[in-house]
């Protein structure tokens, strides 16, 4: 996904408003673009507060900043800059992260960012894209950069086997028929979710845009049982789903990354399993949820 991002963002430099702001991460990949556009590919060094402040200042002059770093440094370290230097000034930027919840599991806690989407979700009016495949990245980035407001793109090395086009409305990937439970998978957790419920009476829908969440699509597809599977903190979208279905009796199971610090290294696959997001773990959770209704 990072390569797709670098290629696409570099092409957007044809527009004189586009300005890429880096804090050393991926600077080498953007070096050819920086050589060609030295005033619009800016590497501020390892200075993440400045990176967002610069983006806010650029936007105040009418530039369209694309800001990129590792997820915990881009979102968690700079939260007040995002809140004040972008939102409070009434300007927007496109933030693009890599690393996700545990792409570099062996690096440990400092490089894990399961809370990024939750933090962005404390703010107002942000669009959040969580692509599940590299081929989804160029179009999502184009929509974000061509838009007016702020957007967060969460890139990951965890990917599904196929890409889905569209603007983020729920796409039915597996239809289990009327009355079936609805499982909504966000971004790269789709393949594991499909494997988990392959022989279960569960309809599976996919989105790569958790904000704004496709609540109309949800209402059209949801029966009384809804299962949400997200690749970041469990429950991040619970409030949105609950509000969308507030006028209907329903049960909701929210799955995702746990809050506890595991203090374990290993691989992304290990963390997926430890958080119950592998096919076997998801199947256990879904079975328990569905059996508890009967």
């Amino acid at each position: 996904m990072r390569e797709a991002f670098v290629d696409t963002a570099t092409r957007f430099l044809d527009d004189p408003r586009t300005t890429i702001v880096l804090a050393d991460i991926s600077a080498a990949a953007f070096a050819p673009a920086a050589a060609r556009y030295p005033d619009r590919v800016l590497n501020v060094g390892i200075r993440e507060q400045l990176m967002i402040g610069v983006a806010g200042g650029l936007a105040l002059t009418g530039q369209r900043p694309i800001v990129h770093s590792y997820a915990p440094f881009l979102v968690e370290r700079t939260y007040e800059q995002i809140k004040l230097d972008l939102d409070h000034q009434g300007v927007g930027a496109v933030l693009v992260s890599i690393g996700a919840s545990y792409d570099r599991a062996a690096a440990g806690r400092t490089h894990l960012s399961p809370a990024d989407v939750s933090l962005i979700d404390t703010l107002h009016g942000w669009t959040v894209h969580v692509p599940g495949h590299p081929d989804e990245v160029p179009e999502l980035l184009r929509r974000a950069v061509c838009g007016q407001g702020s957007a967060y793109l969460r890139l990951s090395t965890q990917v599904n086997t196929r890409a889905y086009a569209g603007d983020g409305e729920l796409v039915v990937v597996r239809d289990a028929g009327a009355g079936a439970a609805l499982l909504v998978a966000v971004g790269p957790v789709l393949d594991a979710a499909l494997a988990a419920v392959a022989d279960r009476p569960v309809t599976v829908a996919y989105t790569h845009r958790p904000r704004p969440f496709d609540t109309a699509g949800l209402r059209a597809l949801a029966g009384t049982e809804v299962i949400l599977v997200e690749p970041y903190l469990a429950g991040t979208s619970t409030r949105v789903v609950s509000a969308a279905l507030a006028d209907r009796p329903h049960r909701l199971l929210s799955l995702g990354v746990g809050r506890a610090e595991l203090r374990r290294y290993g691989s992304p696959e290990d963390h997926q399993r430890w958080h119950g997001l592998d096919p076997a773990g998801l199947r256990r959770s879904v079975d328990g949820f569905l059996q508890s209704a009967s």
Binding site: T19, G53, V54, G57, L58, T61, G62, P65, L84
Partner: protein, 238 residues
């Protein structure tokens, strides 16, 4: 936060045109030294330096003034009113439920205010980004001025911006540090050394001396970012 200064000598009267709007804004309240210490440099900027008028607040080629120490807002509002950026009747009821004038400024509410500030350490990063945006657009006329306090320099975000602006020779940027000696641990060797070691030009002047401020504020060399330290050691208005 209450700012106190080291010496007890009273300050000079506020610049004439600012007196009436400031008194109307004050409405019998007490203003601290943080308000009075900043008025002279604000007045010199708006009266003699900044190429901006109430008619040009959206002109892309205007100079930018970013007040980073947002708590020095009373003098800022008074100067903006004296220069016609906002109507005098806005000066009543500062901080009230229907007033656009808060205890920290909001750029979406007040014409001529370039940034909303209040949390210290945000203005300089925004100023660096503004200077970079103007440079990317090929706008060589406008200059970006950012006003900080010496205590505000405690915030590490400033030092990210100071180092980067110096390293990249951001020549259209001027920072003013209003030094009223309020940093809890001081700046041994002077605030200016934190900038000059990073390649900035710098001048340290009496923050009450309008001609000295004018000379310092126009002292940039066109190749490097410029710093003016405006020192104010009196305790404000007599």
């Amino acid at each position: 936060m209450t700012l106190t200064t080291a010496t007890a000598t009273p300050g000079p009267p506020v610049p004439g045109p600012v007196d009436a709007p400031l008194e109307r804004l004050r409405a019998g309240r007490d203003f601290g030294p943080n308000v009075y210490s900043t008025i002279d440099v604000l007045w010199v900027l708006y009266d003699r330096i900044l190429r901006i008028t109430p008619q040009s607040v959206n002109d892309p080629d205007r100079d930018r003034f970013l007040l980073s120490k947002g708590h020095a807002v009373a003098g800022y509002y008074a100067v903006l009113a004296a220069k016609g950026f906002l109507p005098d009747d806005w000066l009543d009821d500062q901080g009230g439920p229907d007033s656009p004038l808060g205890d920290h400024p909001d750029r979406l509410l007040v014409p001529g205010v370039e940034i909303g500030s209040g949390s210290l350490g945000h203005g300089l990063g925004l100023g660096v980004g503004t200077a970079l945006g103007l440079r990317a657009q090929g706008r060589t006329t406008p200059r970006v001025y950012v006003l900080l306090g010496d205590a505000e320099l405690d915030e590490g975000s400033n030092h990210e911006a100071i180092a980067y602006a110096g390293a990249t020779g951001l020549a259209n940027l001027t920072v003013i540090v209003l030094d009223n000696r309020s940093a809890s641990h001081g700046w041994p060797g002077g605030a200016a050394s934190r900038f000059t070691v990073n390649g900035w030009t710098a001048a340290t002047v009496d923050g009450r001396d309008h001609d000295a401020l004018h000379t310092a504020l126009t002292g940039h060399d066109g190749r490097r970012p410029h710093l003016v330290v405006a020192v104010v050691t009196d305790r404000g208005r007599p």
